[in-house]
């Protein structure tokens, strides 16, 4: 797949330009491997049900976008994949989620190992209050992936390069990561996540706290990362979903309304609700 979604500046996009944007994304080939399968997933927060019986297959080496109005459960569903919902008091997950055919909710699975395989980037850039170097080196260090100083430096440089941040920070690796700009911080968080060598990267509205230019940089990065990783992206911006994703899932009130190739969802939505949301009638 040599095709690249050209991440244009988001401020230039509007619904009328959607076709234009989509014309650059083609549906992924049918023989793509399925990485994550979810079957009949229900999530409860105490007595309230946040996710209602969702089943979904997420392909490898592609970006899958979750869209939907606020409170529709897209972030909750995303957090099922690395069991971050476990950390929330009173949260309960039912159903079956498999990654590469392996059930991640079996009692004998170690969450720590799972999270080493599945990186996560959060809505607000959250670098550790440590140096840039230590931020990236932390994951490999705790998982014992690096043994020597030289190896650590190599991993840090490679990760920062992949995240497109190396040139900007190579001379100040030992300054605090919190001193970077918002967009740089988010790329640092992405570098930190890929330093562990995950198979899947979950991104929970990674650009919502960033300005359009920083957003464009991150979107381009997401598109590059797609060649090696399975990426699941929660976004509020339909333009972003259209620009960077190959598959799009539309959530509403805890239900999966529609799931398909991004081009199809945006141009020929099968469901009335999807169309209403995309055209701005609900949301």
């Amino acid at each position: 797949m040599s095709r690249r979604a050209l991440a244009g500046p988001p401020q230039n996009t509007n619904r009328f330009a959607m076709h234009d944007v989509l014309s650059r994304t083609k549906p992924i080939s049918a023989d793509t491997r399925i990485r994550i399968t979810a079957r009949d997933v229900n999530v409860f927060y105490g007595a309230t049900q946040a996710i209602r019986t969702i089943s979904m297959d997420i392909p490898d080496c592609a970006v899958t976008a979750f869209i939907g109005p606020s409170g529709c459960g897209k972030s909750t569903f995303l957090r099922c994949f690395n069991r971050m919902n476990d950390t929330i008091e009173g949260a309960r997950v039912e159903g079956r989620i498999e990654i590469d055919g392996e059930d991640i909710y079996t009692p004998d699975l170690d969450v720590v190992e799972l999270r080493a395989r599945i990186g996560m980037v959060f809505q607000k850039p959250n670098p550790f209050p440590k140096s840039i170097f230590d931020n990236v080196a932390y994951g490999p260090r705790i998982h014992g992936l690096v043994r020597t100083r030289g190896e650590t430096e190599e991993v840090v440089e490679r990760s920062l390069q992949r995240a497109g941040l190396w040139k900007e920070v190579k001379d100040r690796l030992h300054e605090p990561g919190t001193g970077l700009s918002g967009g740089q911080q988010q790329r640092l968080c992405i570098a930190r996540a890929i330093a562990v060598g995950p198979e899947v990267i979950l991104m929970d509205e990674p650009c919502s706290a960033l300005d359009p230019i920083a957003t464009a940089v991150i979107e381009e990065l997401i598109d590059e990362l797609r060649t090696n990783y399975t990426i699941v992206l929660v976004t509020h911006s339909m333009q972003q979903a259209a620009r960077v994703s190959q598959k799009t899932a539309f959530f509403h009130l805890g239900k999966l309304i529609e799931y398909g190739d991004t081009e199809q969802v945006f141009t020929r939505p099968a469901e009335r609700q999807t169309e209403d949301y995309i055209s701005g009638k609900i949301g």
Binding site: T87, L114, R115, F122, P129, R192
Partner: protein, 457 residues
């Protein structure tokens, strides 16, 4: 149509004007309320500041004079007639060390029996204008401890006998009162502490410059004394407080911080932990004297720890400090943003790694503040110490936490009840100054450490 439009427009303009008018009226009221509230706040802050200034000013003004005390600078002749002692025994060949020690002690005892007061009397009499002042009056202006000062000089250096050496002796507490004017000079004779002759002598010596104010360094090196109040010092109480502080730091800080971390980060939410939580919160509200009673009942009666010892006191204060440290540490742990926890967990850090690598480092300043608050509170506590016997009169500097001792706040309590009020009131304030100084330096240390931790972040 156009007509209606126009009238509609002017009506809208009228409405807008009216709205602006209402807002402007309301604005005046809001601004007034704001000004009233701000001036009230300012007044509150100023009055609080004023109280602090008055309090500290009073303490410092009352306490500072006690740091200077009347001294008598004269020359003492170690008259061989009076100090009639033989050579100090030396270790003979063939003599056992124990035997030698026994002989040496016997010699020291004989030295003590010499009439040292006669030397002091002679030394002062040479400055006395009228020579028929009685011995009692002369000795009443000198600290009773002076004779031991002379004795120790001879024991230290027996060769001094027969020589005349310059010496500085402490004036007695009553002489100090008289010279400083802390006793009313117009009081009739029967209400004065010194005889008329002694008062006249003190005035004369003061005029001559023999009696003068000197910095009372013995306040920091001597222990409490009943017979010689002028030479009483704080060293015992200071060491007692220091030992207790060490015990509190060594026990309460690690236990408190560890239990706060456990309760906040690891403990499951169930009946038992709820019960523990409620109890810890309640412990913080228990009056300190109850802890003293508990200490007496448990540490002294059950565990048989020595009475009046800093060890027992330190344990009681540890119990008392624990809830403070636990509560404050927990609240600083709770203030760590969830995003930081998520970042660590999302990377695959285990719960323990998250706590120790990321949460704790950002809470160091808070934990430090909590610990200092707790320790400072313990340092100033008096009531529980009274119940475990730390208000006993102890005339030794404790050399270990198992020795009997008192503490600074207890020393304040003891001195403020002393019958020689004129002399001990300023000293009480002086002790308060020392205690406050200790606390302030503790706080300064905390602030210094805190800023270092924050810089590292």
């Amino acid at each position: 149509m156009a007509e209606i439009d126009k009238s509609g427009q002017s009506a809208m303009i009228d409405q807008a004007d009216e709205r602006r008018h209402i807002i402007r009226q309301g604005l005046g009221r809001r601004r007034r309320n704001e000004a009233i509230f701000r001036s009230l706040g300012l007044a509150a802050a100023l009055s609080a500041f004023g109280f602090v200034v008055v309090l500290f000013g009073n303490i410092v003004a009352s306490g500072l004079p006690a740091f200077w005390q009347v001294n008598i600078e004269t020359e003492v002749t170690f008259d061989p007639e009076v100090v009639n002692i033989e050579e100090r025994p030396v270790l003979q060949p063939g003599q056992s060390v124990a035997e030698y020690r026994r002989e040496d002690l016997a010699w020291q005892r004989r030295v003590s029996l010499a009439n040292w007061n006669a030397l002091i009397e002679a030394a002062i009499r040479q400055h006395a204008p009228d020579s028929d002042v009685d011995t009692r009056s002369i000795l009443s202006i000198v600290d009773p401890n002076a004779r031991f000062v002379l004795r120790d000089m001879v024991i230290e250096n027996p060769g001094i006998v027969g020589e005349t050496v310059p010496i500085r002796l402490l004036g007695s507490a009553n002489a100090d009162n008289w010279i400083k004017g802390t006793i009313d000079r117009s009081l009739p004779d029967h209400r004065q502490q010194l005889s008329p002759e002694a008062r006249a002598l003190a005035d004369a010596l003061h005029e001559e410059g023999v009696m003068r104010m000197r910095f009372a360094s013995h306040l920091f090196t001597n222990v409490d004394s009943r017979v010689a109040p002028a030479s009483a010092g704080l060293a015992g109480a200071f060491m007692g407080s220091l030992y207790m502080m060490l015990i509190v730091i060594v026990l309460a800080v690690p236990i408190g911080v560890a239990s706060a971390i456990y309760l906040e980060e690891f403990a499951p939410q169930n009946r038992l932990t709820d019960l523990i939580e409620v109890n810890i919160n309640n412990l913080a509200a228990v009056p300190s004297i109850v802890f003293g009673l508990l200490g007496a009942a448990v540490f002294i009666n059950v565990f048989g720890l020595p009475l009046s010892a800093p060890l027992a006191g330190g344990l009681v204060l540890t119990l008392m400090t624990l809830p403070t440290i636990i509560i404050a540490t927990r609240s600083s742990l709770r203030a760590v943003p969830p995003s930081l926890r998520q970042a660590a967990l999302g990377l695959g850090a285990s719960h323990t790694q998250m706590v120790f690598h990321h949460v704790l480092p950002v809470t160091y300043p808070g934990i430090l503040t909590a610990s200092i608050l707790g320790v400072a509170q313990a340092l100033g506590e008096t009531a529980p110490l009274l119940l475990i016997g730390m208000n006993a009169f102890v005339a030794n500097i404790p050399t270990s936490p198992l020795d009997q001792s008192t503490a600074l706040p207890v020393q304040i309590f003891l001195w403020q009840g002393n019958e020689n009020r004129n002399f001990f009131e300023p000293r009480t304030f002086a002790t308060i100054i020392v205690l406050l100084g200790l606390m302030l330096s503790l706080n300064a240390l905390a602030i210094y450490l805190r800023s270092r931790f924050e810089k590292r972040k």
